[in-house]
């Protein structure tokens, strides 16, 4: 290989050398041009050399043999959203270690994860997916956090006929309107989480509702579903105000004031992260939450609740993950192993990462092969045990029935947590098989 490169480069080296030796003073500009072009050229040669070297070494690594590890290509926004993706990464690392300690998959093959950052950009994610597929020779893809990145990778997976397990994206499109044969999703979708909250919201006496949601697909579909589902259960409610702050740019004071001005009896919140913290602070300062019930998506997840420390809102009805209170054997085992391994408590992302890799291992063993179509068949209807209890990937829409915990926020020992919670099994909040078949494009 190297010899070949020397052969490639040398003529151009010679060309550069010639221009150096015979400068033509009467035409200096041209020289300068030639210089730049030859620079371009040498860099192109060097580049091709680098790329060839890279791809061949990958080829060498991926020599298929029955004992060779099964490779999972994993993509997530590690630099874009480290607060969420790093617990997630630790989760799948733990799962991989456990799986390999128990002898791997497919009767003794090791499970190997090749992880990549997508920088929070869908086009980078697609490039990285291509790299994982053609250079790293991975057998399937997994990961992603943002909905649009999840959709881009899902589309890529369908085109390249490689299974993809979307771990964290919430958008309904990934399993419904843009669903495809090769893509599966683990986490409960926007629709499911909204439906869980509607069940509680419908029990409240409130009739006048206001909504505040980030102005993009996630916020929009959460509000749409919430309104629609709540109206079905409670035809007497009305929605009196809506605020659509730009994600990450919530103008807290004016937004809170505008919500208060509509004088709602209850508020449905979809904002999260830094926006949520601003909303809570400003809302408390201006008495927005006094005598009003708040129903809030995802706010009970430790990723969002814990940074607010003792200022976490009290009495909000939320979906989340009260990690310290769940004492089922499968969750205790996970929590103990996670805390022992990483010296910190698990987050929602940790569970998602852990369950994603466990699901992949289960599917591999069920399929008995790494062949894409066999894997797809294995994922359809695959049941496994997760830290949240048993889950199933539905054959009809490829959505896992993993649920969420619905409860009320409270502050205990100076930090936010949940009380009066129950586990809402995802299976109970999904439309029936026939209904989702109508939502999905034909295969």
């Amino acid at each position: 290989m190297n010899a070949g490169h020397a052969g490639e480069t040398s003529p151009f080296r010679a060309a550069v050398a010639r221009t150096d030796r015979h400068p033509k003073p009467e035409r200096p500009r041209m020289l300068h041009r030639r210089q730049t072009l030859s620079l371009l050229m040498t860099s192109a040669v060097a580049l091709i050399a680098a790329l060839t070297a890279g791809s061949t070494s990958a080829l060498a690594q991926a020599a298929p043999a029955s004992s060779a590890p099964v490779r999972v290509g994993e993509i997530n926004s590690y630099t874009g959203l480290p607060a969420f993706t790093i617990p997630y990464r630790q989760g799948w690392q733990l799962a991989v270690e456990e799986i390999n300690a128990k002898g791997g998959v497919l009767g003794g093959r090791k499970l190997e994860v090749v992880s990549r950052d997508d920088a929070g950009k869908p086009d980078d994610a697609v490039r990285v997916a291509q790299e994982l597929l053609s250079s790293e020779k991975v057998d399937l893809l997994a990961g992603t956090y943002f909905s649009h990145i999840g959709l881009a990778v899902a589309d890529f997976a369908a085109r390249n006929k490689v299974p993809f397990v979307a771990a964290e994206p919430l958008t309904d499109a990934i399993t419904w309107s843009k669903g495809n044969r090769y893509s599966f999703r683990l986490r409960p979708s926007t629709y499911m989480q909204a439906a869980m909250l509607v069940e509680e919201a419908a029990k409240l006496p409130a009739k006048r509702w206001a909504t505040v949601a980030p102005n993009y697909e996630y916020g929009q579909s959460a509000v749409t579903w919430f309104k629609q589902l709540l109206k079905e259960k409670r035809p007497d409610v009305e929605f009196v105000a809506e605020q659509w702050p730009a994600q990450g740019k919530l103008e807290a004071g004016p937004t809170v004031q505008a919500l208060a001005a509509a004088n709602p009896e209850a508020i449905f919140n979809v904002t999260f992260g830094a926006d949520l913290a601003k909303l809570v602070r400003e809302g408390e300062g201006r008495g927005l939450f006094k005598n009003r019930r708040v129903v809030s998506l995802l706010t009970g997840e430790p990723e969002y609740l814990e940074p607010m420390k003792d200022e976490a809102p009290e009495g909000w009805i939320v979906t989340g993950y009260p990690w310290e209170q769940i004492d089922t054997p499968e969750h205790k085992a996970f929590r103990d192993a996670y805390s022992a391994r990483f010296k910190e408590s698990p987050r929602q992302g940790s569970v998602v990462g852990y369950a994603t890799l466990k699901a992949i291992a289960a599917a591999l063993d069920k399929a008995g092969s790494t062949e894409p179509d066999k894997l797809v068949a294995a994922f359809r209807g695959l049941s496994l045990s997760s830290p949240f209890g048993p889950i199933t990937f539905r054959a009809s829409d490829h959505q896992a029935t993993m649920g969420a915990y619905v409860g009320v926020t409270t502050v205990k020992d100076g930090r936010g947590t949940m009380k009066d919670w129950r586990y809402a099994d995802g299976a109970a909040y999904l439309p029936g098989d026939e209904a989702v078949r109508a939502l999905r494009p034909a295969e």
């Binding site: 072009l37 620079l39 860099s43 091709i48 630099t79 980078d124 790299e131 909905s147 200022e311």
Partner: protein
Amino acid sequence: MSFLLVQALSGLATAATLFLVSSGLTIVFGVTRIVNFAHGSLCMIGAYLGWSLIERFGGSVGGFWGSVALASLGAGALGAAMEVGLLRRLYRSPELFQLLGTFGVVLVAQDAVAWVWGPEDLMGRRAPGLKGSVDILGQPFPLYDLVLIGLGPLVLGLLWLLFTRTRWGVLVRAATQDRDMASALGVDPARLFTGVLFLGSALAGLGGALQVPREAVNLHMDMAMIVEAFVVVVVGGMGSLTGAFLAALLIGQLQAFGILVFPQITLVLVFLFMAVVLVLRPHGLMGRAEDAPPAAAAAAPVLRLGNRGGWIALALLALLATAPLLVGDYAVIVLTEMVILALFAASLHVLIGLGGLVSFGHAAYFGLGAYGAALLVRHLGAPMPLALAAAPLVAGLGALIAGWFCVRRSGLYFAMLTLAFAQITWSVAFQWSGFTGGDNGLLGIWPSAWASGKAVYYWLTLALCAGALALLRRAAFAPFGYALRAGRDSALRAESVGIDVRRHQWCAFALAGSAAGLAGGLYAFAKGSVFPTLMAVSVSVDALVMILLGGVQTVSGPLAGAALFHLLESQVMRATDLWRLLLGLTIVALVLLFPRGIVGVLSNRRERS
């Protein structure tokens, strides 16, 4: 009534923060003519420093305000260090290089802050004594916000005293008006600039630290802040303190009341406002015409076509064409992207290198091309060749419209107007979800069957891009290109010999836009999907970085820059999570080592020897 009053007060509190941060930016620009991209990072660092100090000492009133002051001084010291270590070495290079250098600092700061303080949002203490709220006409209003409202005018007053009543201030104003004359009269500009950077950065840090009681400190503050501060500074008029104050007030109110009237389009409201102000007032509200904005390299060499050069270009093309036979699939993909980005960078170079027009919003046309192609496929079922043909047309049309407004402004005002149009286009793509798919984008935009092989698509891309590059190159050396350069070097003289500078610039804008559109269309089919992120500010910045890396003065520079940048980004990103740190350090190092771009420096050395 009371509601409107409280809403207005909320707007004032927003305005106070905006003013603190943007006053620093405008002072730095006014004196040093540096567009300091790292200003937002300094604000973020101020907030993080403030958080740490307030957690430790913020229990008492004195401790809290002492912590805020200390955080502000810390940010100031960092700013001064940046001046000494980086910017001072760049005063002689083209002004855009300082922008590139500060952009490198932004990347380094992002990773450094994440490394020091961790990735999680940090919720700080509230200001002691100011936790509650007061009732204003029956509406509760946070006390802390009232204090902020008072701080804005207070800082403005102090700055006014500083600039009019102290010797240092007088010197700074002298340097603002005429840098060369001030230094001829014995004022050491280096020391003055260090002081100004300290002051500007300390104001940024103050603005950041004061946010601690209001919101969770997070890693996205830098970008959020710098964009808003730019808008304020430009609307107010570059270098004008009172202008920045006025603009901050207006924008604060606009945001407070905008969400009542148009809750759905808050994203674009500020940029619409900026566009309207710039269309009506060429230099912002209080700016002066003589505030010379950054332009591309002053003495650009005359570029000439040589026969040998043509041969080398052909040889390079042939070499690139054989690449798919030598390398694997992934390498072909990276090469495809590189070729597309080379065209994108070259199209921006038409504006910057030939026209001397620095665009901050070139991604809009890249994105318009991509969306044009994708929408044709999605809504009309157009085949790939037709969609690809439409891409440059759609983008060119967009550029024709935006260009008509933009070329009526110059320098940084031109840049910000292009940014405003780009942001408006972006938010249309982002929010008109019925038509454009919103942030979930348009999927399934794959090439026709005959071009679906990676090598075939690469050859198609190479052919189209090489053709487009040849056309751009031809335009550069046609009378059109010479007229454009004449307008860049001296608009007045060019006008006097009968060149319609503005019309040439307008044509160049449309040409650059359609070339970028072709690149965008090719990119859409290479990726199989389009998203609003293709039009985001970061893409425009990437294009600028590519050009500056390669060097502004040569036509081949942007191509080398694009190749280098993309290779750096994709390969470093694969290798490490700290890719922003590495990329940033590389950019800073390149700027320091090659202050005229890689190709520029090489040719310089050539000339000297």
